[in-house]
Each structure stands twice: as C-alpha cells, then as structure tokens.
Symmetry: C2
Subunit: 324 residues, 2 copies
C-alpha cells in the first residue's frame, strides 16, 4: 500500500495535466502534455498512456504501483458508462466511450467525470471544502461552470446537466445574450468575458475617466484582472462594475444556498484569483439574499488548489471507487 499511486488526469482542449497522487491526496509528481486533437481525437488516450509509461520509467517506478486512472473531461459525462456525451475542441464525435478507450490504452481501471465536477471533488478532498460532504463549487473562468456535491457524491442530474451554475438566470428580463441561447445567464455577467463586457459598456460612456479608462485608452482593451486591480485602487467605474458583478453572483449563490444549504460554496477559476476584493463583495450580496439559517451556516470561500483541483478530483474518483 505504501507506494500506491493514482494517476489523476485533467483533460483540456490544448493541454492535458497529469499527476501521480497518493491515496492521501499528496501530489508526488505532476506534468503536462499537449492535447493532440487531430485524427478525430484518436491519439488522445494513447498519448496519455504513453506519457504515464514514460514518466514511470523515468522515475524508476513499476506500473503495478499505479492502481487506477481518474480523469476530468470537458463535457457532460455519463458517469455509469464513462461515455462523454458531447465535446467541442477534442475531435471526438458525440457519445465517445472515453472510459473504455482510456482503460484499453492504459491497461488501468479508469473513472471519468466532467472536469468542473472533478475540480469540485478536488476542492472537497484537499482544498477549500476541507472534507465537507456537501459543497458547491463555481468556476469563474472564460465561462462559468459548477459542481454540486451532496452526501459526498457529485449530483449528475438526469441528463448530466446538474451544476450548470453558469446558466442560472440572474437577469430575468432584458439580459445580455448567452452562448447557450438564453439571455441574462450568470455567465454573461460573472465570467471573465462577462466582466469585460460590463466594463466596456461603462467605458463607452463619454463622461468616463479614471484608471480603468486610462488602461483602456492605452491598450485598446481591458481584462477582468484590470477591473479588479483598478477597483482595488479605488477607481469608481471599476468599483461600479465589481458591485454589479457581485450583486448578481451573490444572488445566485444565495439561491443555491437556500436550495441546498451546503457547508461551503467555493469560488474557483481565473476570476477567483482577484481574491478578497471579490469574496468580500460577494459575501455582502449573499447575506442580502440568503435565508437567515443559510446565511449563518453556508460559508463562501476561495478555491485553494488552483490548477491542481482537477487532477486531485480525478484521483479521488479512483479512491472512492476502491472504497465502495
């Protein structure tokens, strides 16, 4: 048992993160390979298998030490069968039998899960969730994703669509169009893209001045990070955008809290790197919309694992499978 490792994999459209992880969730070794999407994605699992074998050789470890491979993949996954239902950017056709392909390529028992769910499991196990069995994780990146954990297990939903936190509606009427076809989704205001959109709307007002406006003039564009950085410096326009973003984000998180009353709601993804200026402002809005018993018990927190959440969540899936 002492030397048993799990291979945790976080499959992305451009790079694939791989790690050897102990049963206690310690990362022994981690690295990245390029995701090869060519040839209808036929090389993806073979490349992962090859990368694992090469790394074991390099580390002088026997393959027998690796007891399984757990992977997060970017799309809805049928957990029972390990089929990924539809994917963009990976070359696979819909309903690709990812688990079977991974087991065949690696000769290891495999478990596959949606990548946002994997990140949530990682945070539950070793991150901000701190072992909580009821946890909601929201990933604020280019888009907004989520994972819902109840009684220690991911809620999949009947169609694999549970945890679509980015597509909860925050502006019922007159909201901006979302990529999903609806309007007024959380993603349109709380993703990096959404934050920039809101800021640009303000910046296009003639009367505007200030630090964020200066950056806009200088660079011809702004980023979500610019908004947080200038808000931290007191720029009124950036503060206004931040207040708008966190008003809607706190609204959604409070309604999720009122539904599930989890121990924690964890904010991850690139936008969460803004840190306390984000968290404090979301907490204010959350307190306004949360039922009192929820406000007093469900805690908001920033994710702590960063890019390691996915590989750790993948490893947890194998650990959990062995424990069943």
């Amino acid at each position: 048992m002492a030397n048993q490792w799990i291979a945790g994999v976080d499959l992305g459209g451009t790079t694939t993160k791989i790690a050897f992880i102990t049963m206690n969730g310690e990362i022994v070794y981690k690295w990245e390979i390029t995701t090869d999407n060519s040839n209808e994605g036929q090389n993806i699992t073979a490349n992962i298998a090859k990368a694992i074998d090469e790394k074991l050789l390099q580390l002088g470890q026997a393959k027998e030490n690796v007891i399984g491979i757990g992977m997060g993949a970017p799309g809805p996954v049928d957990y029972e069968t390990g089929i990924i239902l539809n994917v963009v950017n990976l070359g696979w056709k819909d309903n690709y039998p990812l688990k079977d392909s991974l087991e065949l390529a690696t000769s290891l028992p495999a478990v596959v899960e949606n990548d946002a769910n994997c990140a949530a499991l990682g945070e539950m196990w070793k991150g901000a969730g701190n072992g909580a069995k009821n946890l909601v994780c929201v990933t604020l990146g280019t888009g907004v994703g989520g994972g819902v954990i109840a009684n220690g297990q991911i809620i999949q939903g009947v169609n694999g669509a549970a945890g679509e936190i980015g597509h909860l509606t925050v502006i019922p009427e007159g909201g901006a169009p979302c990529n999903c076809g609806k309007t007024g989704c959380l993603e349109t205001v709380a993703s990096a893209t959404g934050i920039v959109r809101l800021a640009l709307k303000e910046l296009n007002n003639d009367e505007v001045a200030g630090e964020l406006h200066d950056i806009f003039l200088k660079n011809g564009k702004i980023t979500a990070k610019d908004v947080f950085d200038t808000a931290r410096n007191g720029d009124p326009l950036a503060k206004k955008v931040l207040a708008d973003v966190t008003f809607h984000l706190g609204f959604v998180l409070a309604n999720i809290g009122n539904t599930l009353n989890p121990e924690g709601i964890v904010l991850g993804g690139g936008v969460s790197k803004a840190g306390n200026i984000l968290l404090d402002s979301v907490n204010e809005s959350f307190a306004k919309f949360a039922f009192s018993a929820v406000k007093n018990s469900t805690k908001l927190a920033l994710a702590t694992l960063g890019n390691d959440a996915g590989v750790l969540g993948g490893a947890w899936l194998i650990k959990n499978k062995l424990n069943q």
Copy 2:
C-alpha cells in the same frame, strides 16, 4: 412479513394525520386526531401513541404488526438525532427531542423528518415522482416549502435549511417583504397569500372591471382559487396575475433545474389544485429560463397524493431505515 404495517404520521399545528401503511406503500387505514398544543406540547406524542393503540384494538390487530413509526413535523429537524430545532404552534421549546419522545410513548422505533421533506419522499415513492431518485418538491400553500431529494435521499443541509424554496429570491430589488425578514422571496408571489396580495394590488386600481373584480366587490375579499377560476374563464386581470405568479415560479424552478437537473419537479399544496392552468403557464416560464439540456429532461408535474403525501413519506423513512 405479509401483515407488517408502518405507522405514518403527519403532524400539523391543528390536526395530526395518522395512517397504517404496508411495506409496498398501500394505505390500509387512515384517520386524523386533534393536535393538543397545551401544556408545552407534552401531550402530543402520548396522544399519537394512544390513538395508534386504540385503532389497533378497534381493527383487531396486534401491536407486533407495527414495525415502526415515521413522522413529518413542521420545522427543521436534525435527522440523525431526531431533534426538532425550532417550532411554532406546537408548544415545544426549541431543540425538542421528538424522536426519543415518540419512541418512549409508542415503544416503536421512530424516524422524524421535516414535513415538507416527508411530502417530497411520499411523492417520490408513490406519487408524481414515480420512483425518481432525484426529485424536487415544492409545496404551494399558505407559504411555500420544499424538499430536495438526490440519489434517493433528502438533502438536509448543514443547518437543516436545505429545501427552503419559498425563500429563494425572485425579485432582487423592490420586492415585497417576506415573513422571513428578506424581500422578494418566491413565497411573496407564489403562495396562496402572495397570489391574493398580487391580485389585490391590481384590484385597487380604479380602472379595473371583470369577474374577479365582481367577486371582490361581492365578498369583500378574494382567494387564490378565485384568481385561478376567473383566469380559467378568461378574466384579463386574473390572467395577468397568473402570468406574473408563474413567471416568477418558472424562473425559480428553472434555476433549481439548472443546478440539480432532477428527473422531476413536483408542485403540491393547495395552490397546485388549480391544475393544468397553473402547470401549463409555469411550464412556459420554465422553458424560457431552463438550460436546454435541462428543459429537455427535467419534467414539471402536479403532486398526485394530496394530503396523503406526508404519511406515506413518513412510512418510507421507516422502510428506508430497515433496508439500510
């Protein structure tokens, strides 16, 4: 096994419903007793025990045939300990050890759960949920309550406050005050009280005429049922109120659907007796706010068990305990 019964109990502020139920969920016999709140609620469990013993005698059945008692109670319950955390209208002080009191009084193994959760379990087992392991039930009565079932188990929440569907915010700014201390909660628009409030607001407009207005003039008041009845007859004002109510209700149910993607969301309680005029209109709003994969898989339905949901859910708790 053939003759084994479970006692299902639905404890209310004025009456207590009791039923003998088979392991298959068939109600053999059901009746009601008055809830005696006097003397700090000291008589409540003793009266239930007495009622069960008397009924068994009357039916010529031995107490040995009853294998347990499962109860829904109006308040947040700590499921592990069977302590009811706080109650109104029953005389008990906070943190009343209901399970222990019930076991002592009846000499039967007892399980206690919140009443809205019990109703949800009843609908899951024998009602509109049709055995679905992932189900959300919303009770539209004087207030609005809810129960969330995932993987066949009630989600309690860290502070027992999961399923507070009535206190999800639907009007973020400028909503009506709610009994909970917040404003703009679902309960302020989709409870019987909320529907009447919205209608009265319209009726106080000078320009109003029509069937609902006539009822208001004649009776000096209106009910939620009046609103649905006159909407069904085409009264424009009633239709406007109905559209307003179901817009907000569909908004909340879609956001719950986007979070959990359950097989079904079941509408129960007195207001749900309005039937298809309610369901059709909520479905329209749900479709507008639900993520496409959720819209195609999470089905809205009317509760089918009526007043029996609570006792059946209570019985399910015992059945479930025995199966573990």
